[in-house]
Symmetry: C2
Subunit: 216 residues, 2 copies
């Protein structure tokens, strides 16, 4: 039995396709060719066809791709046809921002719990979810079907909290703490390192200015 492994490079592009196709669908566009989509998204048509073909051909020769169908299929690949319950650890501004995001819910991500060690935040209501003390986390994870834990706490403690979450049965972590988590094989971690992103921007500002100077 051959399982074709899809590269993360391809997976990384799927959400963007999904976004553009959703917009097209909302605009009432019924069909689109890889050529048209490539002009819209500023990527090569070849890449689009190659990417979609990883999953076995969603198009029709001479016609192109049906927008609604393709949108739905990519959604399925991304698991958006399923419901994922998530909890947020850390009820600061970032945690509150993520908890308040209505768009996540539209994609099947249900905000179902929030925890913080700061007593001043405990009891606070974030879009219908009450902040609970950290001590409640274990029972909550064990008694509820939680698919994803979102870590919006400072780097100190993040590794420990992640280990605890895993021991309670959590299988996926969306990590905003600026540290690499140490989790066993099979636990999915997606990192969002904001300061890394800012540094990349800083590099590119710099680099551009430098190349300007050198061209004089």
């Amino acid at each position: 039995m051959e399982i074709k492994e899809i590269s993360q490079a391809v997976i990384g592009r799927l959400p963007r396709y999904y976004r553009y196709l959703g917009d097209l669908k909302d605009e009432g566009v019924e069909r689109i060719s890889s050529q048209e989509l490539s002009e819209l998204m500023k990527v090569t048509a070849s890449q689009i066809r190659q990417d979609f073909n990883n999953f076995g051909g969603f198009g029709q020769q001479g016609y192109g791709y049906n927008v609604e169908y393709l949108y739905k299929e990519i959604g399925k690949i991304l698991g958006l046809d399923q419901t994922h319950h998530f909890i947020i650890i850390g009820a600061g501004n970032l945690g509150q921002a993520l908890g308040g995001y209505l768009n996540f819910e539209r994609r099947g991500f249900i905000f179902s719990g929030m925890f913080d060690q700061n007593p001043a935040l405990v009891g606070k209501d974030v879009r219908g979810v009450k902040v609970q003390p950290m001590e409640e986390m274990e029972a909550f994870v064990k008694n509820n079907a939680v698919d994803i834990a979102v870590l919006t706490i400072p780097k100190t403690g993040a590794v420990d909290v992640a280990e605890k979450l895993v021991s309670y049965g959590i299988k996926a972590i969306w990590n905003f703490a600026h540290v690499d988590l140490n989790v066993p094989e099979g636990i999915q971690v997606e990192n969002v390192h904001l300061s890394d992103s800012l540094m990349k921007l800083s590099y590119n500002i710099n680099r551009y200015n430098q190349s300007l100077m050198e061209n004089q």
Copy 2:
């Protein structure tokens, strides 16, 4: 004059090196070999040497790398030896979270202005910076040295605001709006598409469960 272009793949890894080296420095470690660092960071030693060599050899054969020196040099490459002033457009929870981040300041990123169209937020104080109405944005950008604009507003309007910012002279945008900005050549944009990141996580949860089933 030949300007060797460094690939974004390499740049993307620099912040992580920077973080590990900073930690090592704080622990008082003086020197490290690519071998040791590779075990710590779980990447190949070859990649580490290759990456550093893009910038012309920071190490010493038979010795390794001096932690403090390497840390500083990478900081310079990333432009962290310079000061960058940033403003935040959108004073919601996400904007407030980013404005409140003390670590950015440590890296030379100075939070100097904040804007929102919601009158209820105008006047609010975020770490010493008062939220101003959107109408003040133009004058502020033109009268102050602003290096980076952070966009933490909904996707509706983000494209317009970005265009305005560029017309006022902004050269770099850190974009959290879930939309692709349309900016002229030479304007740096770094996107943080949170829902894309969440979808990738969702895919990987799914994929792992599936491969488990198929192996039974």
